[in-house]
Symmetry: C2
DNA sequence: CGCATCGTTGATTGAGGTCAAGGCTTGTGG
DNA sequence: CCACAAGCCTTGACCTCAATCAACGATGCG
């Protein structure tokens, strides 16, 4: 990991939070300040490791990361994906009940909010506190969806469903096209996410390709979903769990307007 | 559901929260007030239904409930169990991204905190806000463990692991003995939790019995785990994800002492 | 060039699903 | 008091989805 005084052009967090919550000018500034210092990690590096006592929150500026757990027999279960604009680590920030790890899947840039600042920020900026709450709620919705995927769907549905979720989440931060995105996941990572073997992921991907559901170039890692509606239908995907249909604000008087994109 | 002005003797939430966080006398009183009005639900009744717009938080005073989702093909996936002392529903309270339902498995008594009061309570009582945060973090740890269970364990391990988690969670609120508790779950509920078929749950339970891991009387629904250590070993269970090893407090000066049990 | 990583494919096996049937309760109504 | 139905548990027979084992090709890197 290397220190790096970032020159963040348009701030991804300002953009993301603003689509959920009306932020005051002051709150914009707080976010800008928080994201001045950045840390970079390389592919494969641990950002938070299991045993490590860590009490900070992190903002993921760019790149992909995974939260995972190792089981006694040596297997790995990937709990969730962290994508640009996601907030993570703030769960452990207050208590010590996590023993999962976070690892970079690609080169990654994160901003760190030290534990001691979090409470202060939340107290003085209600909307930022709300933003944290929102992030947590969203993460829980994603975990819930993952549980359903693992518990009640077969390999084909699991894979298609996950690819749709990633498309949708990336679109929300403008990191995906209408139906395609950069998918930096090996088949092993997919297997460890979906509770399948590598071999079976391979065969299931092939089947998705044969069914003309997706195109995936192993070279460029570009994934294209050929028929989003058909794949959603086939895999029982319902994107509503990721949607936010309200803009709650607890201090409308000092909120500033912000255009929806 | 019926209204019921409850005469709560010793408050389960005061007891539970106090083991995590030092509460002020005033905060004790707030909790007592919040739990004056209670609602009762019968077995099988929905407490929160999917489509229902619901913006309250709930405290589960007694009984068991499940959070679940229905998949397109009609299957059901149980996301989590709600046990006495658990807080739920406050995720949806601020945003609208959930579409899962909560149903009573046994007769249940809940206390409801209307949405409009939550923000106010959190603002004026930092430790109660902290308690909510803690509850969320804990719930997330449980969901994470459930994902690992579904993704990386076989039927035998899943079942044993779940039974141990329930034992441990019930012990924390003094609803279980040293190694036994009342388990009000049908094999169908277990199947829908663990992503298995009813038939296979039946066979796996038998195997656990044959291995002298558990005793389960279908009449009384009393479950006894005969060798907690052996079962933990066999199923990769590590209870640390439920433990709280710190008592964070942001206002020690006005906190009162409270004995650990 | 040699080695590691990743993707691919075939052959075999096994865990767990599905189908089907019967038993044991409990409750309800004649 | 008995008949019947509805749940839930149990067990057997069979089948299928996905794991495992094994091998090979492609790519990329020191």
């Amino acid at each position: 990991m290397s220190e790096n005084s970032g020159s963040t052009s348009t701030n991804i967090f300002v953009a993301k939070l603003s689509s959920y919550i009306d932020l005051s000018i002051e709150e914009h500034q707080v976010i800008e300040e928080l994201t001045q210092n950045s840390m970079a990690f390389d592919e494969g590096q641990d950002i938070i490791f299991e045993s490590e006592k860590n009490s900070s929150a992190y903002l993921l500026q760019s790149g992909w990361a995974i939260r995972y757990k190792i089981v006694p027999d040596g297997g790995r279960q990937i709990i969730s994906y962290l994508l640009p604009g996601d907030i993570f680590g703030f769960r452990e920030s207050l208590f010590e009940l996590s023993d999962d790890s976070v690892q970079a899947l690609t080169p990654v840039i994160v901003h760190c909010i030290p534990a001691e600042n979090i409470a202060e920020i939340c107290d003085s900026h209600t909307n930022l506190s709300l933003a944290f709450t929102w992030a947590r709620a969203r993460e829980q919705a994603i975990l819930t969806e993952h549980i359903v995927r693992l518990g009640r769907r077969n390999a084909y549905e699991r894979l298609g469903h996950l690819l749709l979720e990633l498309l949708h989440r990336l679109q929300l931060v403008e990191k995906a096209g209408n139906s395609d995105y950069f998918l930096p996941l090996t088949q092993e990572v997919l297997a460890d996410t979906l509770g399948l073997s590598i071999v079976h992921v391979n065969r299931t991907l092939r089947k998705l390709r044969n069914d003309l559901m997706i195109e995936l170039d192993p070279k460029t890692r570009r994934l294209r979903i050929l028929d989003v509606d058909a794949l959603s239908e086939a895999t029982g995907y319902d994107q509503s769990f990721l949607d936010q249909n309200e803009k709650p604000s607890r201090s409308p008087q000092d909120a500033i307007g912000f255009e929806e994109k």
